[in-house]
């Protein structure tokens, strides 16, 4: 899950990035509106956390840039500004949720997961696909009463697969959604992790489409 985090307070930004990294997100942190606007338009993020009081370009303007540019990525506004006027403005500009500071990290996470699920139209408390149930809190997956714990990258990769069951996902797309901006992106590494998931969960969990990519579950 690629996540764009736009937060101008360095300390809070770093802390949130660390927290979200731990939760299996590939987080890119920007501390100003201009960079956030540019990278948000250029990179296929899965979800965005946007502060309104950004330097150089306000959060509302950045959101406007994205929505006008056809970027439909779900956006959660995270701000200290909590009047209804501001909430109305934010949501009318195209935000999907609004969380005011101070907030609990758990609440932020719950709202983000809800946004992602809503966006990929998955229902239920836990993400599930083809009989597999992903527990985001323990970063483990279960099927028919048996449970497997996952490493960070395995969790990210499997979550992306489970959010898009039956879709053909190319190696480069998987790379983009599993790794953050500055990570050393080698698409061959995806192959390694897919194989690790197959070793853990069984070969038929992910099928390979030659020259196209991978499919979680039965592609037909």
């Amino acid at each position: 899950m690629r996540l764009l985090l736009a937060e101008d307070d360095q300390e809070l930004g770093t802390r949130l990035k660390r927290f979200l990294d731990r939760q299996g997100f590939a987080v890119d942190l920007f501390d100003n509106g201009v960079d956030a606007s540019f990278y948000g338009s250029e990179t296929p993020y899965d979800v965005i956390v946007l502060d309104l009081g950004l330097p150089r370009r306000s959060g509302l303007d950045v959101l406007d840039d994205w929505r006008r540019g056809g970027i439909k990525t779900p956006v959660l506004i995270l701000t200290a500004r909590d009047t209804w006027q501001e909430k109305v403005q934010g949501l009318q500009k195209g935000a999907d949720d609004y969380l005011t500071k101070p907030f609990h990290e758990e609440e932020l996470l719950a709202r983000l997961l809800a946004l992602i699920r809503r966006n990929t139209q998955t229902v239920g408390e836990h993400l599930s696909a083809n009989g597999w149930v992903l527990d985001e809190e323990t970063q483990s997956v279960s099927n028919a009463g048996q449970s497997w714990s996952l490493t960070g990258i395995e969790f990210r990769l499997l979550r992306y697969f489970m959010l898009h069951p039956g879709h053909i996902l190319s190696k480069s797309r998987l790379t983009e959604h599993v790794y953050e901006q500055d990570a050393d992106k080698d698409s061959n590494v995806i192959e390694v992790y897919v194989n690790r998931l197959r070793q853990k969960l069984g070969n038929d969990v992910i099928t390979t489409r030659r020259g196209q990519g991978y499919v979680f579950g039965d592609g037909h």
Binding site: R81, D82, W84, Q92, Y98, T100, P102
Partner: protein, 449 residues
Amino acid sequence: MTSLRARLGLSLMLSLVATIGLLLLIAGVSVHRVMENQMATRLAHDGDTLLGGLTFHAGGHVALDARRIQGIYLQPFSGHYFLIDVDGQLIRSRSLWDESLSLPEVAVGEVSIRHVSGPERQPLLLWSSSFRKQGRLVKVAVAEDLYGLQAGVRRLWWQLLGWSLLMVAVVLLIQRFIIARSLRPVADAVDDVVRLEQGEASALREDVPQEVLPLVQEINRLLHRQQQRLLRSREAMGNMAHAIKTPLTLLQQLAAEKVRAGDKTTYEQLAHYIRKINELVDTSLRRARIAGDSLGSSRFDLRQDLPVLVDTIRRLHRDKGIDFEQQLQRVDTLPLEQQDGMELLGNLLDNAWKWADSRVRLSVDGDAGPLLVIEDDGPGVDEEGLQQLARRGVRHDENTHGHGIGLSIVKSLVEALGGCIEFGRSPGLGGLRVKVYCRCPEASNGVSQ
């Protein structure tokens, strides 16, 4: 308070009446004088003719040539008379009948013109003079009745007065029309002020007469300054919220990270204080943002602002499929500044959404009674909770972050509006019912069941 229109009308009428009165007086006197002069000239001619008709016979006898006497002098009391005195011998016009005229003493060559009372008390203009003819002293007096002349002048004067009054009336009407026309921009400005109070205008129009323009401009300047101040203060409040809340977030997260696992009691205390600080900051900031009854600011528009607000609340509670009913009775705007209205309705509807099972109802009525009624079909609040709500605007069983502030800011807003808020149970939906009044109903203790 005096009316400009009445004052202008009265002063114009007084000055017109004074001017016309003076003119009438002068006209009356002048016409009278001119006609009297003409009469005197005619009398002098008649006197000359009579003098020319005198013949002196031997033995001192004097005769008047009858051909020189006009018929009017022969008719009794005709109003035309003469009297000639030649050394005590009197020749009298027949019109005098047995009456006589008093002959004033006039030196030879002098002329006297005076008013005297004649036969049958006729007011007469008497012309008299003395001559020396053929060595004898001749006094001639000719008189004419002034009654006809005076009546003519009086008639003329009454006619003039009639026309003048008509003119005064016409001028006053015209002036009334002109004043109404000239004061129309002022009336427009007054209308503007009303529109300003109702939030339909943000400034007064400046196409007013020069005399009123400085006033209108000053009001507009003040309004602008007030709006700017509100804008700046709201901006400052926003920045302040930003400045305080980010460190507060960090503090909360540090506590959660470092303290929660090791010392749960201390963590709970820390969390409590952080929540308290946050609520205090929120309440103060939100109160400071209330515009209250500020002139010239735009009002909350039920047709424009309410749909986006409801849409926003729906999006924020996407997982709740609430059936929202609204009943707006002949009302387009709330008597509240736009952001105040957002805050009031936002908090009330959000609260209803939070607690509702499936239905929320909003009724807005511009007439008597409550302005707003918001009802939900949630669990409602018991008697003790209602008392608590009325006192502090806090829902007694809410301990989720941020929930308590919503209704307390609603209380502050309603207080700023000078109104009242009433909490009770919705008879139709069964949950909480909140009534907002612009004017407090009598004997309201703020709570009703």
